[in-house]
């Protein structure tokens, strides 16, 4: 199976083309650029690099969030539109799972992918490798870093597993993690800190295709306006607010 994969959830932009278990081409850029400007030329180039065309793809895989709202939406919009317009399968992979997939597949470690969500908050989740499969132990969430470190530390005390924290934003929270998990933290080299589209594709091999039209990002958080509105209107169920004419 040939997959075109992409991730623009945060500052890193990565695109890749794989064929079954083989990476044919991958481009990862980690300087601050504009994803909206760069993503389509990058896709065009990575397909050229792989000596393939869009029609050769059996599936499109995308990192669906969480992450920067605008960033996540760019790859999701491109992936969803390409899949729809060429009638190709679409799969979405958690952007946190993509980071977790960079970890060393040691059976005994707890994997903590993190992204800075500002104001002392993180987008994070808890994963582990078991027999080569990446499993989720705690669901992806938007949570305060202080609270999250306690949860990870409790898990660590229970299981006595080493902890791998992954993500370019780790540096901002390193002290906090070290204060609660001293001695059990494994530090990963820089090349394992960035999201890679080859990992999106690898994880995408195992995902079930989604309905393209209804596919949306996993923000893991309502907008502030909606949170406030829900608080003020607890009885409102929501439903569709879109009218077509």
């Amino acid at each position: 199976m040939r997959i075109l994969a992409m991730d623009t959830s945060n500052q890193t932009m990565s695109t890749a083309v794989i064929e079954d278990q083989k990476i044919l081409a991958e481009r990862t850029i980690n300087v601050k650029r504009n994803h909206s400007v760069q993503i389509m030329p990058a896709i065009e180039q990575v397909l050229k690099d792989a000596a393939l065309t869009l029609e050769d793809m059996d599936r499109i895989a995308v990192a669906k969030g969480p992450g920067s709202y605008t960033g996540v939406r760019i790859a999701v919009t491109v992936a969803k539109t390409l899949a729809w317009t060429t009638s190709t399968e679409l799969v979405g992979v958690s952007s946190l799972k993509v980071l977790a997939g960079n970890a060393s597949p040691l059976d005994e470690s707890l994997i903590v992918p993190i992204m800075d969500a500002r104001r002392g908050n993180l987008y994070t989740g808890l994963y582990t490798f078991r027999e080569g499969q990446l499993l989720q132990l705690e669901k992806d969430r938007h949570v305060s870093a202080e609270e999250w470190v306690e949860i990870v530390a409790r898990r660590q005390r229970e299981s006595l597993q080493p902890v791998q924290v992954i993500g370019a934003d780790y540096i901002k929270y390193q002290e906090l993690f070290e204060s609660k998990l001293k001695g059990s933290l494994l530090t990963l080299p820089m090349y394992q800190q960035l999201p890679r589209a080859s990992v999106v594709a690898w994880l995408g091999l195992k995902e079930a295709p989604v309905d393209v039209h209804s596919f949306v990002p996993e923000y893991t958080k309502l907008t502030e306006a909606e949170e406030n509105w829900k608080e003020a209107n607890p009885d409102q169920k929501g439903g569709s607010y879109i009218e077509k004419y």
Partner: protein, 336 residues
Amino acid sequence: MTIKKVLAIETSCDETSAAVIENGNHQLSNVVASQIKSHQRFGGVVPEVASRHHVEQMTLVMEEALKQAGVSYEDLDAVAVTEGPGLVGALLIGVNAAKAVAYAHQLPLIPVNHIIGHIYANQLVQPLKFPLLALVVSGGHTELVYIEAPGHYEIIGETRDDAAGEAYDKVGRVLGVPYPGGKHIDEMAHKGKDTYHFPRAMLQDESNDFSFSGLKSSFINTVHNAKQKGEKLDPNDLAASFQAAVIEVLVKKTIRCAKEQPVKQIVLAGGVAANKGLRTALKEAVEQELQDTELLIPPLSLCGDNAAMIGAAAFVESIKTDQIDLTLNAQPGLTI
């Protein structure tokens, strides 16, 4: 480049829209998914909420537009998209969707200015004749645009503060009508009388510019003072007085510009073009004062944001483009 059929996309604010337009003047489809009900919860458009809705609707709306038009990708000659002005996060969805479709089917990509789109909505009804003067009034814009020939635009007057539609929304909030306030104020105005004589800002001024923030403040003060004194004001009269002040300035300045710089057509455009009071007043003024000038007022379906107008404008913009520029980006502050 000869272009016949265009798939057009518009996502600059709170409507996700796609259309198929033939020859710049014939609408084969025009699908609009409006988010108004969602933003009503917040009393105005919340940009992040708008962006989220666009992602939900984008491919559905494009599919519906192609289906209704009965065309396939082989029938299309280009993809047109609003590049700006508008909300950046909202524009990005349309721009990236348009680029993906253009790339997948190797179609030229035509970026369109939203304001030019509003003006060209009229071309879907009857041919534009140049030179023309366009009055563009919406929630984000109040502009007088002189167009000497296709592609030659000159803004000769614009608002120095609030857009006319924005003033309507703010006054609507004070009157307690649902967002967007324009439609409700228009209805109330027809039941009331101009009794408060709000200021006609910059009417005597030599410039062609507009200002609506003073009018808005005067309105709010009137309501506030009455409240403090425990007086009851007639909301219909308030609406009628506000609307009369907005319309008088818009109409008089438009007529004055057309007299100074004669044009073949005066074209009304933008969301506020749906205002009955404005449509009637402009029609009467042109009939009385500019007998040789034709007035174009778009049907209500083409006043609000829609992709059909982007497809119509794309035929003029297409002169500049003959390839797919995959680096196209959203231009939230784009001018004409």
